[in-house]
């Protein structure tokens, strides 16, 4: 017996799904190795600048004092993140109480939660949409290595560093807000060390 559908259906084209599937497959194939710490491969010329430290200090101070966070919280670590933003732990003390809905206004991505391969292209898109300079904190076991899903799951990315470069790793399942705040302070120290001005190029002019 043939039974007709009760209503009209509006569905996207199957070609779009295949395209999405191909993007995921390509990303998975090209993401089998972890991306190393950005300090090891960022522009070496910048690191050799030693003269204009006062400018560096100024730039780094302004950057690290108002880290704005892009909203990318796929799972349960988000609640510790929210607790850290609340009045008890008060992340506003470090100038980063604002969570930006648009990644174009953010400097920092706190990856609070498990990432599946289906979601991975979207996370990389959010990262690519953030303006330079930008930093990433991997929060929690899932973000560091895939956590409890690392060895068994067919669908979970084993660590955000397959997708995007990570600056600071905060362990825990989930980490306490204190741990996250300590990780943010480590990131601020890391930003404070950063060299921004290419002196040799300036002298050539």
């Amino acid at each position: 017996m043939e039974i007709k559908p009760a209503g009209k259906y509006i569905y996207p084209d199957i070609e779009l799904d295949r395209e999405e599937g191909q993007i995921i497959e390509d990303l998975k194939t090209n993401s089998q190795e972890s991306i190393s710490d950005p300090d090891q491969w960022l522009d070496e010329e910048l690191e050799q600048n030693i003269l204009l430290t006062s400018v560096d200090a100024l730039i780094n101070w302004s950057r690290r004092s108002s880290l704005w966070t892009a909203i990318c919280f796929p799972a349960c670590c988000a609640f510790e993140m929210i607790a850290a933003n609340g009045p008890r732990f008060d992340l506003a003390r470090f100038g980063m109480e604002i969570l930006r809905a648009s990644p174009r206004q953010a400097d920092l991505m706190i990856t609070a939660g498990t990432l599946t391969w289906k979601m991975a292209p979207n996370v990389r898109r959010i990262y690519n949409q953030m303006a330079e300079p930008k930093w990433v904190i991997a929060m929690g076991a899932c973000a560091i290595s895939g956590g409890i899903f690392a060895s068994a799951s067919y669908a979970v990315v084993p660590g955000y560093n397959r997708i995007i470069p990570v600056d600071v790793y905060v362990p825990g399942c989930p980490p306490r807000p204190e741990a996250l705040i300590y990780g943010i302070q480590m990131l601020q120290k890391k930003i404070a060390r950063r060299k921004n001005i290419d002196v040799r190029r300036l002298l050539k002019r």
Binding site: I3, K4, D17, G21, A155
Partner: protein, 146 residues
């Protein structure tokens, strides 16, 4: 409180309408042959006194030699419910009729079963993967998936 109907009593009614359509029935549920599933489902939905107008869920189980798909039905009018099962013995290319035409709530859940068990639902208007991406190999909730 929702009353759970006896599978044996409902089985008598179905057997009277469609002889030979049942595999077995018990106090808790009844098992329909897969080629009579649509007839039985329509009978359950449209018969006065049964009126199973609401599908709570569809799910599937892998028993190694066959798949068993369970339909939990409820009647909002009479406040009673019933579990109907059907079996599918073909492991390579399991096919069952889709009940989306009767209960639209089955749409996403049949897609989920198709995604994770690989059971094809004939007559489904949009049968494609729902959790995993197109191009993923295998069906993860099958017992032999590793």
């Amino acid at each position: 409180m929702t009353v759970s109907l006896s599978g044996k009593e409902v089985a008598l009614k179905i057997e009277g309408e469609f002889p030979g359509s049942l595999v077995e029935s018990s106090q808790e549920n009844l098992v329909v042959k897969s080629d009579h599933l649509l007839d039985a489902a329509r009978f359950l939905k449209e018969t006065d006194g049964l009126d199973f107008d609401y599908l709570n869920f569809v799910t599937a189980v892998d028993y190694y030699d066959h798949f068993e798909v369970s339909y939990m039905l409820s009647s909002l009018e009479h406040n009673h419910c019933l579990t109907v099962k059907t079996r599918c013995y073909d492991r390579e290319n399991p096919v069952l009729p889709s009940v989306v035409g009767l209960w639209q709530g089955a749409d996403f859940q049949e897609r989920e079963i198709y995604d994770l068990f690989g059971i094809t639902f004939e007559g489904h208007p949009n049968l494609k993967r729902i959790f995993l991406w197109a191009g993923f190999e295998g069906h993860p909730l099958r017992k032999d998936f590793i």
